[in-house]
Amino acid sequence: MEKLLRLSALSLETDERSLLQGDLDKIVGLIDAMQSVDTRGVLPLAHPLDGTQPLRADAVTESVDRDRLQRNAPRARDGLYLVPRVVE
C-alpha cells in the first residue's frame, strides 16, 4: 500500500486508508476471475479498432497565449509555473 500511494502520489488518512486497503483486496478478488481464461496464443488487444497512427504534417499550428493559459495556474511568476524547491 505504501508503494502504491507513493507511485500514485497520494496520501490517505488512517480510516480512508484502511477502507481502501479492504476495497483493493475485494477488487483484486473481482479481477482475478479473469485469470481462469486460457489465453495462450492470444495477442493483447490495446485498441478496439485495428487502426494505425495517423501522421501530422510538421507545421506550427498552435499559437500560445501564455497569460490566458496561466490564468488557471495556482502559482506562476514571470511566465514560470512555481513549485517547491527541486533538488536534482
Binding site: 497512427q53 506550427v60 499550428t61 498552435e62 511568476r77 512555481l82
Partner: protein, 478 residues
C-alpha cells in the same frame, strides 16, 4: 594484480530538428520566453490528445537507414510514468518494447584506428521541460517550452572500453546526425545529451555492477565524468567495497559524480502502451521515399576523398568528420581548387581563423569559390604563398571581394619575369659584396639574407622560386 578494464554503453538523446513538437503543433524554437512554446497539449490540459508528427518518423527512419539498422514495420508508443514538475502529464511518451529502429552500427575513430560500435536500438520519445533553479522566492520555476520536443534516443551496446573511445563515439554520433540533417547538433543548447552506463571488471571477469551518469552535454564532460567515475569505482572495489547500482550526475565545477536525488527516478515506471496513440506503421512507400534522401555519409566520404581525390587517410577522416567542413571542401574542389591544397588550406588557415573567431565550420566567411581561386592563383604562380595568406586574411575579414580583383587592386601580382628579377638580383649582389664573399666561402645560409633583400625590394611580390634560382646562379657566377 591484474589491471581493471571499463565497460561503457551510451544513450545519446538527439533532439530532432522539426518545426513543431512530436505530439503537438507548438513551435520548437530555442531561447523563447518561458512557456510561450507550450500549447494546451504540451501543458497537458484536461482533454488534450497527442498526434504524432510525421517528420519525426521520417527522421528516425533516416537515422535507422544510415546506421544500417532494422526499421520496424510497426512500432508503438508507451507511457513511462513518474511525477516530476517538468513532466506535465505525469508520464513521458516513449517506446519500450517496440522501438522504431533496432540494431545498426557506427564507425568510431579510436586510438587504435576505426572501430565498429554496435547499436542496441534507437527509439522516439518526448523531451521534458526545464526546472529553473534560480530563486523564485524559495521556489523552483518550471518552463515547459522544451516539453514535447522530439528526441531520438540512440542506445549503444556496452562495447566502449575507455572514456576517450566513449567521447569519440559521441563525436561520431554528433557528426552523423548533422550529416543526416536530423539535429542541429548544438550541444550548448542541449540538442544532444548523453547518459553513460559504466562498470569496471578484471579482464575476463563477468560484467561488474554499473552506474548511470545522466545528462552529459559535451564531449569533454563525458570523457571527464567517465574518467572520474571509473577511478571511483576502482577505488571502491580495491578498498573492498562494492559498487551500488545508482544514477549519478556529473558536477563539472567540482569534476566529480554524485548521486542524483529525486528527478526522473522511480523504482517502477509502470510502462504500458499509450492508449491515445495507435501502432505506427512504416510503409514501404515511406521507407523508399526516405531512402532516396539519404546523403553520402562520413565513411563513404572519407573513402572517396582518399580514393578519388588522393588525400591521405588522416586528412580525409578529419575533413569528413564535419558535414559543413566537408561541404566547404567539396565546394572548393568543385570550383577548381586542387584537392590536396584545398585540404591544407582548410586544415591550416581556415581552421585557425575559425578557432580564433570562435566560429563553427558552417560560418566560413570566405566563399569556397574564392578559396579555390586562391589555390589556382598560387599554383600558377600569380601570387606567392605568402601573399596568398594575406589575401586570405583580406577575404576573411571583409567577407567579400574577388581574388583577382584584390590582386589587381593591391598590385600583388608576383614578379616572375626573368629580366626585371635578373636586374634586381644583380644589383643586390653587387651592393652586398661582403655577404656574397661569405656565401661563396661556404656560408650557404646567407642565401636567405639575399632572398630577404629581394623580397623587401619587391614588397614580397617576387617569385621566391625564381629569386632562389637567380641568386644561386649569380652568387656562383662571380
Amino acid at each position: 594484480m591484474a589491471r581493471w578494464e571499463s565497460v561503457i554503453g551510451l544513450e545519446v538523446h538527439v533532439q530532432l530538428n522539426t518545426a513543431s513538437k512530436i505530439f503537438s503543433g507548438a513551435g520548437t524554437a530555442f531561447g523563447e520566453p518561458p512557456n510561450t512554446q507550450a500549447c494546451t497539449v504540451d501543458l497537458a490540459l484536461p482533454g488534450v490528445l497527442p498526434v504524432l508528427n510525421g517528420e519525426v518518423v521520417r527522421k528516425a527512419v533516416l537515422f535507422g537507414l544510415a546506421v544500417d539498422g532494422e526499421i520496424a514495420e510497426t512500432c508503438r508508443f508507451d507511457r513511462k510514468n513518474y511525477f516530476y514538475p517538468d513532466l506535465p502529464k505525469g508520464y513521458q511518451i516513449s517506446q519500450l518494447d517496440e522501438p522504431i529502429v533496432r540494431g545498426g552500427h557506427v564507425m568510431v575513430d579510436t586510438d587504435d584506428g576505426p572501430r565498429q560500435i554496435d547499436l542496441t536500438r534507437a527509439h522516439l520519445e518526448e523531451d521534458a521541460g526545464k526546472s529553473l533553479h534560480e530563486d523564485y522566492a524559495g521556489l523552483t520555476g518550471i518552463d515547459l517550452n522544451r516539453a514535447g520536443t522530439p528526441l531520438l534516443e540512440v542506445v549503444s551496446e556496452p562495447q566502449l572500453t575507455n572514456p576517450r573511445e566513449a567521447a569519440a563515439y559521441f563525436r561520431a554520433m554528433h557528426a552523423l546526425v548533422r550529416y543526416l540533417g536530423i539535429c542541429d547538433g548544438d550541444l550548448s543548447q542541449g540538442s544532444m545529451r548523453c547518459d553513460a552506463n559504466v562498470s569496471v571488471r578484471r579482464p575476463g571477469a563477468p560484467l561488474g555492477e554499473r552506474t548511470e551518469i545522466k545528462n552529459l552535454n559535451s564531449f569533454r564532460f563525458l570523457e571527464k565524468a567517465l574518467v572520474f567515475e571509473i577511478d571511483r569505482q576502482i577505488d571502491v572495489l580495491e578498498s573492498g567495497g562494492s559498487v551500488d547500482r545508482e544514477t549519478l550526475l556529473y558536477d563539472a565545477e567540482r569534476d566529480e559524480t554524485r548521486p542524483m536525488r529525486g528527478k526522473e527516478l522511480s523504482d517502477d515506471y509502470r510502462y504500458f502502451p499509450d492508449p491515445d496513440l495507435l501502432p505506427v506503421v512504416v510503409t514501404q512507400e515511406l521507407l523508399a521515399e526516405v531512402r532516396a534522401t539519404l546523403p553520402e555519409l562520413p565513411d563513404a566520404k572519407r573513402e572517396r576523398y582518399e580514393r578519388t581525390l588522393g588525400l591521405d587517410a588522416r586528412d580525409a577522416r578529419w575533413l569528413a568528420a564535419d558535414p559543413d567542413r566537408a561541404a566547404y571542401f567539396e565546394a572548393a574542389v568543385d570550383a577548381g581548387g586542387q584537392p590536396k591544397a584545398a585540404a591544407n588550406w582548410i586544415m591550416g588557415d581556415v581552421a585557425a581563423a575559425l578557432n580564433r573567431d570562435g566560429r563553427p565550420p558552417s560560418m566560413i566567411p570566405v566563399p569556397a569559390e574564392q578559396l579555390a581561386k586562391l589555390i589556382v592563383r598560387t599554383l600558377d604562380e600569380t601570387v606567392s604563398g605568402k601573399i596568398a595568406k594575406s589575401l586570405f586574411e583580406m577575404l576573411w575579414s571583409s567577407g567579400e571581394g574577388d581574388v583577382d580583383d584584390l590582386i589587381a587592386e593591391h598590385g600583388l601580382k608576383q614578379v616572375s619575369d626573368d629580366d626585371s628579377l635578373t636586374e634586381l638580383v644583380t644589383n643586390i649582389v653587387a651592393a652586398n659584396p661582403a655577404q656574397a664573399a661569405q656565401y661563396r666561402a661556404g656560408q650557404a645560409k646567407l642565401l636567405g639574407y639575399f632572398v630577404g633583400q629581394v623580397m623587401k625590394a619587391t614588397s614580397g611580390k617576387a617569385n621566391p622560386r625564381k629569386v632562389n634560382e637567380l641568386l644561386r646562379e649569380h652568387l656562383r657566377a662571380e
